[in-house]
Symmetry: C2
Amino acid sequence: MNKELLHIKLVRELIAFIASGKYEDGVRLPAERKLCEQFNVSRGTVRQGLYDLEKLGILKIKPGSGAYVQKISQKKLPAHLLPLDFANVTFSDIIYARKAIETAAITLACEKINAHQIEELRQLTEKMEQAKDNLLEFLKLDTQFHQLIIHASGNMPLVTAFASIAEYHKYSQVFSSLYESEIHTAINFHKKMLSALNDHNVKNAVKAIIKHLEHTEQITKSAKQKNIFV
Amino acid sequence: MNKELLHIKLVRELIAFIASGKYEDGVRLPAERKLCEQFNVSRGTVRQGLYDLEKLGILKIKPGSGAYVQKISQKKLPAHLLPLDFANVTFSDIIYARKAIETAAITLACEKINAHQIEELRQLTEKMEQAKDNLLEFLKLDTQFHQLIIHASGNMPLVTAFASIAEYHKYSQVFSSLYESEIHTAINFHKKMLSALNDHNVKNAVKAIIKHLEHTEQITKSAKQKNIFV
DNA sequence: CCACATTGGTATATTAAATATACCAATTTA
DNA sequence: TAAATTGGTATATTTAATATACCAATGTGG
């Protein structure tokens, strides 16, 4: 058994942090002392992590100024820095696995979901409509929506399984611009899921979630996206 | 972020180790120095882990003699010692999730499986027949068989998802005695899966794996088993 | 029954990871 | 240009984990 080094854990967190933001155009990371608070580690550990990321070419550290993100999309990350094996993962693989897990989950959720959860889903769709222009926010809400359905299934193994898939999703997600019409379509699928869950209509719920995932897959395929972790 | 303490990791490993063996009747664990080799940690770490388990009432340590397993089935384990949330997990939940994941996996595997993998599966079924009397060995081979199918799917997210399910399975599995007829039935299902995979017959493969999992569920339900981690 | 090997119990020195603090020089900001 | 902020460096301390050695109690084989 091996010790888990804290700065390696931090590197993984930072990669996820960078990947879930705008990373292309030389954005500056929070100052080292801020990162200490944010991740609750000492400055020495933060500096080790940043040094590793600079060695990988992901960061350019400028003394007295800050750490600036380099073009991460062109980098290759060594496997041991990733929590999962990304070598042979396509977006379609993730969608396929999500279909399997989420279909099973929404089937259970149709029986077990309660009024409070329905209300939460309704509020999420509302927020999604308001977040049409904020892609990052929109995707965050989308993830929350799906997680809530999984939890509503009451099946912990499915929750765990989905969490591991979500980890892939988080890392591999490259944020291309979604057109307004596509966001609109996505919101409509969520409304259909919500309506079906409310009616305890398994057939419609499954249909809606599958269509939604296939739509997501199509968008991603048509965009000129690559997995940033090759 | 917190440091991962090695002896806590070891405690989890030991719980799984104990749970996957005969733990009821005061069996003696391997000597501390053996455990050091087995888990590749120092004796100090092993002793910390054993001390924790004794505090939990899972072990009774006798100086000069060894560490003896107590009736673990009556113990409650604190959540932080478990890698997953077992509070609300039934065996049926695990089977339900496995159905979702393994059905998706075997569908892909039917297309993608190669001759080498088929041969490996064949050898596993052979070994299973030879291990009819060794329940632990039999279950180990069963797990290997299923893992190989998932890998043959070539879908890494499914592999990850299944691994998280397997973690539940490992911990929650309470080994009641399987009757010979049940082992025989299980082997037959594996042969059907193998045959269907060999013929690239998706329909039969899915049918076989679902029947197999439902059979496993029935056996477990009929036995007087409780989840040991409540 | 006895000699010897094995087992858990204890103590100690050492290594390495992570923390905590302080101070410097370069950069940024007001 | 003065003050604040930033990365760079050095050092002392704490703690997890290792590595060794030795003891007393237990177990084992002749």
